[in-house]
Assembly symmetry: D2
């Protein structure tokens, strides 16, 4: 961390600041420029509150040089992390499509979709049992029963399952779920992250709607600091002023994250776009940009059946997307080659 | 809700959609325009998923006419809600300043600040015991001990206390806390909201960094749907591209919310701005715009002491702000007068 | 356009509104729902000011059904537009890479880069002569001399040239420039757009930093309404809260625009990202998502030479990107197939 | 400017960078930290391209210490600028309300409104003659005729007039206009700014929808660098994800700008909000936050007449707002007192 002091800062104030920093086990390296004094902070500055220092009235500006994340930092983990989900691998060159219904509705539905997506090449089955809904009056998911239905589909198809958790108290119910998902709205639910850090199960961590890439990594750090290093990051769109899509999918998060971290990065174009006809191009784009996987919603619901159309991501449409994705995989960007 | 169908939608498709809507207890009113068929949905549409309908391939557009919130809706609650916190009232013409340290650090600190802010006219004491921090390596608050210190300050000064909860499991620890705060990052932690809905204690609900005003009301609705109608809303800045302030304080949320809801609305300029010299003008602005209260951080920490300056919101600076606020109160905008 | 009136609107007010709309040659179709009266506006509503109607106190909500753009509307132009730049075609299945230096600096520089990018497969040469700079103290480009250098490079290589205009008065200087570019900051410089609408030269119109896709199309409409139908749209990143990239590249603009308009859409990953090592993955992603072309900056400048590194988009790096792009082209998403 | 180099940068690379910087008349001050080398740039760095330096592969980070604006910089102009518009003063303790119709429509309309707003205490009359409209099919203003009508209203009432320019070629038509306004969409139309810099007439510069406060100051700098120091800044809302208001009014721009610049700052709540019932609270808030003036739209149009309601900012509603504003002025925040 580099702290630039204002011109005319008094020697006594500098000494005070130095003493305070040193009381936090931060060594300092002072260099006197022509107008400004610059203090370099040496040591582990990840616990130093930048905002607090910036707010000091003798401070002109503060700049972090070292990233405040360690466990998730590529610099200390040269090798890509490969997350192994019962033999299905994600990361380090291993690519997976996670597919399934938004909400688990019935045994018939989830098993049918599971078999379809497996046939099309999906490596994992997703399905929502606990649903974070903006309205308390909307369907909140089948909850525990939904998890049971997912487990049946897992048994029938052999596909490992991914499902979202919303409450640390539910962890025991997720004992047989292969990958626990943390949704965008809970990305900074630090209490939940801490509990998940105590497990050894892979965690799929979605980026929040208004969260920076650095904050996503800090949330991964929460899980990893607890001892669980199996974190999969997921870009799912951020909130902007554009209204033609539900959110704005930030595909540049892929190369940016690949440089900063060794964790696998997957992309969820379904939630980002909100319209099924936009899923295919974005899934293809994410693939060549070097994502380690995709998360795609496959519907099979009555409403769709009523009004069925070429735009719906039915099992058939998903099969088409998957075919394209597998064709493109050999051409995808790779990182960390040296 | 008004659903506009695409031109060339077949009669059979319209019938199917109508049947499906009616299966959800939604009556329909169809009107045939020159090019477009318009379906009016009649009944309680708050559980209808707009996104699902919009995604149907025969649908051109959907528009909600009635707000999807009921308990928090001004239309059904003509009278402003007055939240009574042990005799200290907020809303319906009652204005309060909630002040105190960001983090509770020691008995001395919190009691000193409590006495200062009380003298300056604050009606409630705030203090963070559980701290949501971006980094797992940052100080996470004194937690249970912090709450005890706050309670001591309450005993000494008589000020009711406000403190943030991050985990529903901690609710028993908040038994003597007068107002439970839900922070911006937990605004859509629906599981936490549901638990708080079972209490009768006032909840101070902060707007999330990337959340719309409507989403804030839907989160209030989660609490109220559970039976707890004592919700105080708090605007604390939203995330934008501007970097000169930590967040962008959206003061227009005050008049917008005043029209939509009968719940009290307070403003937290300290977190929104991130720089203490910006707190005073924003506190003054919020007051005349008609806020029902303010939440202001009063520091007394070593770093400040080191580098003390005219810009810090020390107890003295707070006293100056409070004086201005009380002068301005008689001129503040009022709403719902008729 | 559908106007939903508030409950309790009086018949007289409805008649007044109807009369006013009809005075603007808008026919109306009134349908009376259970609670709300809905007025359908029939005819050419592209000149109707939605905001004005929404602000009327008897109006609950307004919704546009028809897009307010006509010349740029896919609905009236089933065939993709193919822009022909002296034999080099863009759109309708024709893909081009536009490459060259950010700023034209010298004959040697621009000719060297032009030859390099031509060899790598670029179809057009870009180069900035007039530079829109945030600071008046930054280099503003070689201006007229820069255009001359570009024309020399065109003569030597045969590549058509693209350069940015900032002032309608400069149009005569662009007589031999093949494609005139309108930069993001001038996307809503309507006076400039009107002047460009009088030309027959292709216009490359960049999306503004904070402009929606609909506004981009309305700006294209300004040019086309004047008679110049040769507009190429360009996505170049929008402004969000993320700071790891200069802007957030919104690749979903490609499929969204493909549905709304017949105009070609290209992507500029260089300006969006701000870091050369992010250009390749984003260029690849844009290609498979179905862009009609790419605009890529190729540097050859002293600073780079000084510190040259694997991350710089030197002519060699560009050659690598171009090779990948051409490999991916056969797999790209296509639209408007039926 | 402080440039932090990556660890392991070679001495030769440092020397190269140093030489290149010095070739631009920038002296350097190198200080060797434990891990990082830091180069301080000494001299006038306002022309140095930060982005270029940041993109060099030996550079970890760059930080500007001095603001890149000079003429608009408070540091070099201790005294508040007072803009004198024919005796009507703005800034340095002088507060003005600029009021009038969005568009000039007729002599009757503009003169009637002018007289009303004068009576209510407005110091200047605003009126749009050239209208920047998203759609080419919307009314573009009365243009030259509109300016003439404004001048008639000026003659009748004595109020100086403010009107928006969209094209440098129109400058001669603005010869008798007292204050020339640059709209949000033209804030970075640098060619227009340069031309306005050659005049001595006051320029009212509105902040762009997606522009930072620093960019607003750099645009002011464009005008001032040309010799015209009479710039009035105007906050009019920025674009965010919130849809309940047209834009999000960033009132914190007032205290932020007051610290950075000596130029007057006014606020336009009408355009920011888009709904007249939100104007009053925001106008009041802006006043106490220390704005040097307000710009408020006063309507008198047929549509309003049709549907007249308590929410419209008719001349009567404006009179009420103005009364509140003048009551609040004595309590407004002041800056630069020492």
């Amino acid at each position: 961390m580099v702290v630039v002091l204002k011109p005319n800062t008094k020697q006594e104030q500098i000494e005070n600041l130095k003493a305070w920093l040193e009381s936090m086990d931060i060594a300092t390296h002072i260099s006197q420029g022509l107008n400004h004094t610059i203090i370099g902070l040496v040591g582990d500055t990840s616990a130093v509150d930048m905002d607090l220092i910036r707010a000091l009235d003798i401070v002109e500006n503060v700049q972090r040089i070292q990233e405040p994340f360690k466990n998730a930092n590529r610099k200390f983990h040269n090798q890509d992390l490969v997350v192994d989900v019962g033999g299905v691998k994600i990361g380090g060159g291993n690519f997976q499509i996670i597919a399934g219904p938004c909400s688990v509705e019935s045994e018939e539905q989830v098993c049918y979709i599971a078999e379809c997506v497996k046939k099309s090449g999906a490596g994992l089955l997703r399905g929502g049992a606990f649903k974070p809904r903006t309205s308390p009056y909307s369907f909140q998911g089948l909850q525990g029963d939904g998890l049971k239905l997912l487990l049946e589909a897992k048994e029938k198809t052999g596909l490992p399952i991914v499902s979202e958790i919303m409450n640390a108290l539910h962890i025991p119910m997720f004992a047989d779920v292969d990958v626990i998902q943390v949704g965008a709205r809970n990305m900074q639910n630090f209490e939940l992250l801490k509990e998940l850090g105590k497990l050894q199960k892979p965690i799929l961590l979605k980026r929040g709607l208004a969260n920076t890439i650095d904050e996503l990594l800090m949330s991964a750090e929460y899980i990893m600091a607890g001892g669980n290093e199996n974190v999969i990051l997921c870009e799912r769109g951020i909130r902007t002023f554009e209204t033609r899509t539900r959110n704005t999918l930030d595909l540049s998060a892929i190369p940016v994250l690949k440089k900063l971290t060794h964790l696998p990065i997957i992309v969820d174009p379904s939630h980002a776009m909100g319209y099924s006809h936009l899923v295919k191009p974005m899934a293809m784009a994410a693939t060549v940009a070097g994502a380690d996987g995709l998360m795609i919603e496959v519907h099979n619901n009555p409403a769709k059946a009523l009004c069925d159309g070429p735009q719906s991501l039915t099992p058939e449409a998903f099969d088409d997307v998957a075919k394209q994705i597998f064709k493109l995989r050999p051409f995808a960007c790779t990182y960390n080659e040296d």
